[in-house]
Amino acid sequence: MRKEFLPYSKEIIRHFKHPKGLGRIKNPSAIGKAGNIICGDVLWCYIKVGKNKRGEEIIKDVRMEVFGCIVAIGISSLLTRMVKGKTIEEILELTKDDILKKTGPLPPIKVHCSILALDALHEAIYNYLVKKKRKIPEKLRKVHERVVNTLKEIEKRHEEFLKLEEKLR
């Protein structure tokens, strides 16, 4: 490994070099999207929901598509390993700290990659529950609102930035 890349943890680099669970699922139960090309990384999460022996709903398969950097790819790969086979309830309890525990410390400016990956996953579950016309847990609704608002905020900021740039010219 070249020195320049050392700020990234071994775990991230391991997943980046040999990513698992990246790509698309045919006929997914739901898709979740997070991030925006304007600010950088974009992550799409595909889930296939099934049932375990106890009849609880679990993530039978999960895949991520990534337009993003080393950390975004590494975390996406790691997250798919973390959540496969887990129940929806368990996944809703996941926080970015659970991911950071597995990745080891990240450069501060890269922490948002872990939030983005989790957002994409939670969005997929939100969309699944909406599709099934189920009740949306309060926590999940809040995540969804934040994701949507962030996107709006980015777009607004970008428009303002373009206007300012135009004015300066």
């Binding site: 990246l22 999207k33 090309i37 950088g40 990384d41 799409w44 337009f67 950097c69």
Partner: protein, 388 residues
């Protein structure tokens, strides 16, 4: 692992063995201080002045107009700040192009904080400054114009001869940063009406930590470093003789081999570009013709540059990117944005810069590996053939 291929010569270059050879005695045998009166000092002083002559010859300057520094960053800081502070009486306005290296732009921004006014010149989609806009921007109180010779990211060569002519006619100092072009394409400070010029050693197979600023006789400038009065009082600090001797040797080799090397590199670069552009949804950045022989900048749709560079690194290929993810600020390259790329396009940028030790075989290896890596990243990208 297979081959190791270095394609980041625009970032830095290895020291040429011929350069290292002439430097060696100056570390422990000929170690004198150029300011000392004794034979050790005189020996060092002679090496310094011989080097100054060699360097001056490359740009058609007088030796006394060359001030050795620690590198291009220091030279650019000295040029902008030194001229600004020495010419306050004339005015407080400076003009720089918007695609200058950070050391020029950040010096300009710092000067803004000190009460100077800066005009940032726009560039077109190829990265060229507009001469009419430059002419319009020059005011009564303009003291300096700084436009680089060739851009470090996209390789575009600016019309500095024309810029110099305009500046001379208007009576404004003209500074140019030639860190990327020095020793690679011809430069003549007299014909090009250059008043100040920045160059660096480590871009031309010399050691790191050495550069120079050419200051035309008569230009008013204040030093940044005060002290023992080295370098005609413009740059105090015990002189880095070994580094300077190496720089001068590197410059002389570059001068002698310039024509042949430029032809060889241009051929290799064209081969590289023809091959890379066969990749679907790939694009060339920078000027199609007015470009350095050794720099190619591309962008690939739907993928991100940091990941691209790292996967290339895994295959032994060293390259660089203007992606936001690879920068400390999480902002994409200011150069790529200035030539009109959208942030998500700049994200997928890749710079391949070749040099003295690049071979045809290496280009072939890159042309084999790069399409595979691009494909690998596109497979995992949410964007398939279109941005949506």
């Amino acid at each position: 692992m297979g081959m190791k291929v270095y394609m980041d010569y625009a970032a830095t270059t290895p020291v040429d063995p011929r350069v290292l050879k002439v430097m060696r005695p100056y570390f422990s045998k000929k170690f004198g201080n150029t300011m000392s009166l004794h034979s050790f000092g005189r020996e060092a002083k002679k090496a310094l002045e011989d080097s100054r002559e060699k360097i001056a010859k490359v740009i058609n300057a007088n030796p006394s107009e060359i001030i050795f520094t620690s590198g291009a960053t220091e030279s650019n800081n000295l040029a902008l700040k030194g001229v600004a502070f020495a010419n306050k009486k004339k005015g407080k306005h400076l003009i720089v192009s918007s695609i200058e290296h950070h050391c020029v732009l950040d010096s300009a921004r710092w000067l803004e904080k000190q009460g100077f006014e800066i005009t940032y010149l726009k560039v077109d989609k190829h990265g060229l400054v507009n001469l009419a806009e430059l002419e319009d921007s020059i005011r009564e109180d303009t003291i300096l114009v700084s436009v680089m010779h060739a851009n470090n990211e996209i390789g575009t060569i600016e019309p500095i001869k024309e810029v110099g002519k305009i500046c001379r006619e208007k009576g404004v100092y003209f500074h140019t940063d030639v860190a990327q072009s020095f020793g690679k394409i011809p430069i003549d400070v007299k014909k090009m009406n250059i008043d100040l010029l920045t160059a660096s050693s480590h871009k031309i197979y010399g050691p790191k930590g050495v550069g120079f600023l050419f200051i035309r006789e008569g230009v008013e400038i204040e030093p940044l470093l005060h002290g023992g009065g080295h370098e005609f009082g413009l740059r105090s600090s015990t002189v880095n003789v070994a580094g300077i001797v190496g720089f001068a040797e590197a410059a002389e080799i570059a001068r002698k081999e310039m024509k042949r090397e430029a032809e060889r590199l241009t051929k290799l670069r064209r081969k590289l570009e023809r091959g890379v552009l066969k990749i679907k949804n790939s694009h060339l950045n920078g000027h199609p013709i007015k470009r350095l022989p050794n720099i190619s900048n591309f962008w690939f749709d739907f993928i991100e540059g940091e990941a691209l560079v790292m996967y290339l690194d895994q295959k032994g290929i060293a390259a660089s990117t203007g992606s936001a993810c690879s920068s400390e600020s999480l902002e994409p390259s200011h150069v790529l944005l200035a030539i009109g790329l959208k942030p998500h396009q700049a994200q997928g940028s890749l710079r391949l810069s070749i040099g003295r030790f690049t071979t045809k075989k290496e280009v072939d290896w890159v042309l084999k590996v790069l399409p595979e890596v691009v494909e690998r990243l596109r497979k995992i990208s949410p964007f398939k053939g279109k941005w949506s």
